[in-house]
């Protein structure tokens, strides 16, 4: 099968284009020979099956970043029949560089000029026929976001594949071939632009000008940003929490009304295992999918509108003093969705110190999996008003933990990497695109988490019910023994043996914690589960549990990705141990502090 590689600079809408071309058939896979995951999809072009691979966004084929190295390694190891170069049409004055570099390599290529709508709006006129003739490559103007020109792009790809004999061998001596053409690059680019492009005499994007005057204002910019974030989270909870509660009740009724009678003929041990173990555990987690969907929807809007890169601008001065930069801040924000892609995102950093420090800080971002636990616990122990404050406090703690970590270790992971970031014009995200993106994120989360949840929940249930005949979750069960074993360490922070089991499994994934608690307490209905937990532990214990859950290792996947991205076992171990130590210390100070105040009669 022919392989088509898609390359392009960051902010060209390359991923959107890739998704539009491939529909929902794309999957993330490990590319043979490269230790990175790339989006791939099979596509039929005029009856011919081809494989489309989305390579990371890069500025320069000779660049020094990790992503740029990945693209080079890919081209050196994979025979590619066609390279599709994606460029932002309105920035054609500088983006032809990549097309010229690909041409320099002698690879069959075609150039897709994306965001044609924006280029027109900004007054950039491109004579594609002239450009194609001068460049010697087919050139298509299109707008992936609004699905214009996709058919032409597809056809051009098919034609490029049927035309000349294809290059079957990977590129050899890539770097020296590129170096040969380097000196003439700027001149060639200027010549092409001169001949085929008319640029506007003045910047025309009034909307961006006006918005930036407010949103990047030296004094108002940051308060406005935090206000926007606060409103966003408020909206997510206001809509998501009632939906989540309704769904949970529904799932429980289904379990009690439909599944329970169906299981009646089975032996009691198996019945308990299937209903109280598997179904209740999975159900409790499923109920949180709406909140996660809303979260990714909101983050998608913030990112695609262009506001997220403004956050990097606003926060860079502060982050610089922590030994980090604006990008670390943006990645930490993305970590509030899921830590794993945020850590993968550190690939844009070249300086190893900066990268490691960012990787050390990102896991403290309160991800959606931890949020599930906190929403539940807050509802169980506090009034809605207090609960809101507790959640807000945990977000603050998440920032404080990142800040302390950066300040403590910035000396060890120092860097002075230059920071250059594009600030794209503000854009209106389209609803179908946002919905499909949030849906893809939730699906990805679910497929990925399901494995862990099922294994985790089953393991928790077995620990509680073995050896056979034991009273579930009693001191004699395996989980009871485990809890007792850990007691000297965890009793000072108020974590009882039952919560200990949940924490041990939370190390695998936080998605298991709630399902685990449902199994440990033998309650699936969230209301009943809250009551059971509230009877068993006090509110300071619950908050201590939440603090510990917030700060210790997010999940095995995060550990695995830190290991694979840092390529250092020592650093990975250090990152895990530091988060455990910090979690224990913070929980200890909180729990003992509150206990002391309670003894003095200052707190209820």
């Amino acid at each position: 099968m022919s392989t088509i590689a898609v390359v392009g600079m960051p902010n060209t809408g390359k991923s959107t284009l890739f998704n539009q071309l491939t529909g929902s058939h794309a999957h993330i896979g490990n590319w043979p020979g490269l230790t990175v995951e790339l989006m791939q999809a099979e596509l039929v072009l005029e009856g011919q099956p081809v494989q489309l691979v989305d390579l990371p966004g890069i500025y320069d084929l000779r660049g020094h970043s990790e992503d740029e190295a990945v693209v080079r390694r890919f081209l050196e190891s994979t025979p590619v029949e066609l390279v599709v170069v994606v460029a932002n049409a309105s920035q054609i004055d500088r983006q032809l560089r990549l097309a010229l570099q690909v041409r320099q390599l002698g690879l069959p290529a075609l150039l897709l000029l994306n965001m044609a709508d924006e280029a027109r709006r900004f007054g950039v006129a491109i004579n594609t026929e002239r450009l194609a003739a001068d460049l010697g490559l087919p050139v298509i103007l299109l707008s992936a976001k609004y699905r214009r020109g996709l058919a032409e792009a597809r056809q051009a790809m098919a034609e490029a594949l049927t035309g000349e004999p294809h290059q079957q061998a990977p590129v050899r001596a890539l770097d020296s071939r590129l170096a040969q053409g380097d000196a003439a690059l700027d001149g060639a680019m200027a010549q092409l632009v001169q001949a085929a492009v008319s640029l506007p005499p003045q910047w025309r994007d009034r909307l961006t000008r006006r918005l930036d005057a407010w949103l990047l204002h030296p004094l108002l910019g940051l308060p406005l940003f935090f206000l926007a974030m606060a409103l966003m989270f408020q909206a997510i909870y206001a809509i998501g929490v009632p939906v989540q509660e309704g769904l949970a009740t529904l799932l429980d009724q289904f379990g009690q009304g439909v599944i329970k009678p169906l299981l009646l003929p089975l032996p009691p041990f198996l019945q308990g295992f299937l209903l109280e173990g598997l179904y209740q555990g999975i159900g409790t987690v499923t109920a949180f999918l709406p909140v996660i969907f809303l979260f990714f929807l909101a983050m998608g809007v913030v990112e695609d509108s262009g506001y997220l890169s403004r956050a990097a601008y606003l926060m860079d001065a502060f982050m610089e003093r922590l030994g980090l930069d604006g990008r670390s801040f943006v990645l930490s924000l993305m970590g509030f969705g899921c830590n794993v892609p945020a850590i993968l995102g550190t690939r844009v950093m070249r300086d190893p110190g900066l990268r490691l420090l960012s990787m050390l800080v990102i896991p403290f971002s309160l991800c959606s999996a931890r949020l599930n636990v906190f929403l539940f616990m807050a509802a169980a122990f506090f009034t809605p008003r207090q609960g809101g404050l507790v959640i807000f406090g945990l977000y603050v703690m998440s920032f404080v933990a990142a800040l302390i970590t950066a300040l403590l270790f910035k000396g060890r992971f120092g860097s002075n990497e230059p920071l250059l970031l594009e600030l794209p014009p503000y854009r209106f995200p389209t609803l179908p695109q946002m919905l499909s993106r949030a849906w893809a994120e939730v699906r990805h989360f679910w497929f990925w988490a399901r494995r862990f949840i099922i294994i985790g929940v089953v393991a928790v249930w077995l620990l509680n019910n073995l050896p056979l005949g034991v009273v579930p979750a009693s001191a004699e069960s395996l989980s009871g023994r485990l809890g007792t074993l850990m007691e000297p360490l965890l009793a000072p922070i108020g974590i009882n043996p039952k919560l200990t089991v949940a924490l041990v499994f939370g190390f695998i994934a936080k998605e298991i914690v709630l399902g685990g608690l449902a199994v440990i307490y033998g309650q699936a209905d969230p209301a009943a589960l809250s009551r059971a937990i509230a009877l068993d532990v006090s509110w300071p214990q619950a908050v201590s549990f939440m603090l510990f859950t917030l700060l210790y290792t997010p999940c095995l996947s995060t550990v695995a990705v830190i290991r694979s991205e840092s390529k250092r076992l020592g650093f990975t171990v250090f990152s895990v141990l530091w988060s455990l130590l910090l979690a224990w210390l913070v929980s200890f100070v909180f729990f003992q502090g509150v206990s002391l105040l309670q003894r003095l009669g200052a707190l209820g």
Binding site: D93, D186, L216, G221, G326, P424
Partner: protein, 80 residues
């Protein structure tokens, strides 16, 4: 003609003012990135705003807007 006027720094331009890039004195890695983003001798560059607390600059070069830190901006020499 004056012998040489003091070099103008990108960070010292008044917000909204433009100047012409004379040369780039960055190391090869940064130079490559600057060039990829459109910085090259002869190109006009406009300072849009400066961030608080000695933070980054918001500039426009060609059809691209971007942020860069002041100490990196110092490596872009402007024609007087």
């Amino acid at each position: 003609m004056l012998e040489s006027s003091p070099p103008v720094q990108l960070a010292d331009l008044a917000p909204g003012a433009s100047a012409t890039i004379a040369s780039l004195s960055a190391d090869p890695g940064l130079r490559q990135r600057l060039e990829a983003l459109g910085f090259r001798p002869g190109q006009r560059v406009q300072l849009l705003r400066r961030a608080w607390w000695a933070g980054p600059l918001h500039v426009r070069v060609g059809m691209t807007e971007l942020m860069l830190r002041r100490r990196d901006a110092a490596l872009v020499a402007l024609a007087a």
